[in-house]
Symmetry: C2
Subunit: 412 residues, 2 copies
């Protein structure tokens, strides 16, 4: 058969996603399938059963990462791989992660039923604990596999009940024999929902991120002077919450001020003593900056840091700033990105060259192998919430793009 004519089975993809959505289903239409929970195990068991139905060779490594291998003509060549994660946020959605796994499974099913032989071997993969909400941090087991995180450190991570990662991995029966150790990968594709509103707003079907933006995390600590509000005149107050409010607005205005591609957010804030009749004397808040342009992000930070210091001085609220975490932007492999753009064109889907604002397992894979991602629209841009949704026709479109991008890489 001429592979150019191949298409995924949209109805089958929808039905597998619907079956998965039953596992850990929440009352408001989302899923809760925390890493290494009973629901995670149930979804893994179903996935492994489906891998075996199409004769894939199943390997489970010591981190619980699940691989389904499909032989090629020359099995000495490094494989073409695709996958994502099965775990979800608490009260998360039915698409985040699982779409990339079911999409890659659907690709394998199409190749299997059409008896397609590729030059290189192929693999579908589930990475354990991408979300990091039960055991922090995120993207743990792609991180171990790619040699960026330490296996035993991850084993020792505990959840809020003090349960250890390794114990829970064994409990659900997914601590495998295979070492979690990187091997050569010819190409890694990850198919995912966008988790933002850009594609929907522009009416575009396929998003093709050129890479993942840089990420800066800062922690700001302000001190004020607590006093009873009634007898304390406005003049001479040192109100740490007012200082924080000014700073929050400076952060919010930063992207338009920089005139560039940047998002800036204050997501977390603690206020003390947090009593309605005492002037706040201790405020902590966070700043999250992301941009494709590392220089721009640093320049923005330097600017807003000056603003912070001016505001702190003006209000008489001493400030302490921690530069908590900085990750540089990470460009994907340009050849793979082009493969995805080409596949979209030949399938006659509209596509957009964009950036990924969120981290994914692809972030770690990008450190060790040619990597790229395929996005499809999130309805209303909503993600990590129960109402997270994506049109079935878009799920199908993304899987078709994945199929042809993988075929392109697998036959070269």
């Amino acid at each position: 058969m001429e592979t150019k004519q191949l298409r995924v089975n949209g109805k089958r993809l929808q039905s597998t996603l619907e079956d998965m959505a039953k596992i850990g289903a929440t009352p408001n239409g989302g899923v809760q399938r925390l890493a290494l929970s009973d629901e995670d195990k149930q979804a893994r068991d179903l996935f492994v059963k489906w891998l075996r139905q199409i004769d894939l060779e199943v390997r489970i490594d010591e981190m619980g990462n699940i691989f389904g291998f499909r032989k090629g003509k020359d099995n000495d060549l490094p494989p073409v791989m695709s996958g994502s994660h099965i775990d979800s946020q608490p009260k998360g959605g039915r698409f985040d992660g699982i779409l990339g796994v079911m999409g890659a499974l659907e690709v394998m099913r199409v190749l299997h039923e059409n008896k397609i032989e590729t030059k290189r071997p192929m693999a579908v993969v589930v990475w354990t604990n991408e979300e990091g909400t039960r055991f922090a941090p995120a993207m743990q087991c792609s991180g171990v596999w790619a040699d960026a995180l330490d296996r035993d450190w991850i084993y020792g991570r505990t959840d809020i009940n003090g349960l250890r990662f390794e114990d829970e991995l064994m409990r659900i029966g997914y601590k495998g024999e295979t070492p979690a150790q990187k091997s050569d990968v010819h190409a890694y594709y990850e198919y995912h929902i966008e988790q933002g509103p850009v594609l929907e707003r522009k009416g575009i079907t396929i998003g093709v991120p050129k890479g993942i933006v840089c990420l800066h995390w800062y922690d700001i600590y302000l001190e004020g002077e607590a006093n009873q509000v009634g007898p304390t005149p406005m003049e001479g107050r040192h109100d740490a919450l007012c200082a924080a409010a000014q700073m929050i607005l400076k952060v919010n205005e930063l992207p338009s001020r920089m005139g560039g591609n940047l998002v800036a957010t204050v997501g977390e804030l603690q206020n003390e003593p947090n009593s309605r009749n005492i002037i706040p004397d201790k405020v902590h808040f966070t700043v999250d900056l992301r941009s494709w342009d590392d220089e721009l992000a640093i320049k923005a930070w330097e600017l807003v840091k000056c603003d912070f210091e001016d505001i702190a001085k003006e209000r008489g609220c001493p400030i302490r700033i921690e530069e908590t975490w900085r990750v540089e932007h990470s460009p994907f492999d340009s050849k793979l990105v082009q493969n995805i753009l080409d596949a979209s064109d030949s399938l006659e889907y509209s596509s957009l060259h964009m950036v990924s604002g969120a981290g994914h397992d692809a972030s770690y894979m990008n450190q060790i192998a040619p990597t790229a991602m395929i996005f499809v629209p999130s309805i209303g841009g909503r993600s990590h919430v129960e109402v997270e949704d994506t049109k079935w026709e878009d799920c199908e479109a993304g899987a078709n793009v994945l199929l042809h991008s993988m075929l392109q890489s697998a036959n070269e």
Copy 2:
């Protein structure tokens, strides 16, 4: 003896205050003497001992309010009364409340040792649980006595460990026999630290509040849209914390905008989900407005409420506003206020006609009897904190003013 020459014993006042400060002393120089705690009992026992030493008739009512009565020439006339509270904030100061009790005790000691006979009887009083931090609300037992609060409702109030007010009152042995029921009072004077910086800034010794400001409490609830910060562009965000930040600054600017005597504070704020990489979608904050001018406070609120609604609309963050509590300003008895001003003049202390920004037991007494207050400077305006402080010479000055104001009322 000509009473005009009478003066309190400043050293003795200092020493009684220092003795009291040992009970519940905290490492950083404050006190922690929560209502109905062992420390409260210990301080009460000492106070009652001191009352008996100068032959005052001690009565303890069913709320634990302690009265020390001193006979006059005509004991059918309503008494002149003065007092405050023995309980403190957690990690509170050595002057809040207790200065008014020890000041009134010192007045009684001076009258006793000088064998002064007054026309009317006099009384010193300790009101149970003024602070309201262990059992909310504040000013409970002056409230019951003045018939503004219900006795059995107060009895049933519980602390964070579920202990009942009445049980704790009995445990420390201060549930008395006398009904907590108002009787005629000819004049009630309360001597207290200012708890604000006005007197110190102006270099004035005696503050004479013309009354207590009005108090408005509002609760604001904002809704935004939670989304992952990375993939969500700035445009189209509904960030509830940014909306709150704008509103907090509007509140802070309100007093200068109104050009009048007003304080406006946001003391409490809750932010959800309070995660550094999720846009906040639920924010609650409080507004506290106080002014001598009820009309001005209402006008200010109407203005800032419009601002809130505009900001909420502009940011697409639905707002819900609760008008939680409004108490009108409460003017003190002008004759008593004049007595205090006159006493300050004749004692050659500088004095300032001002307002009280905080509530006191005097608030409830003001509903049933001619009432006024005497303030002395708080160093740095600090109060409800361990560093709360007042100069000993100012403590003595305030007690002298109290002595002569009480004598004035007691002989008419």
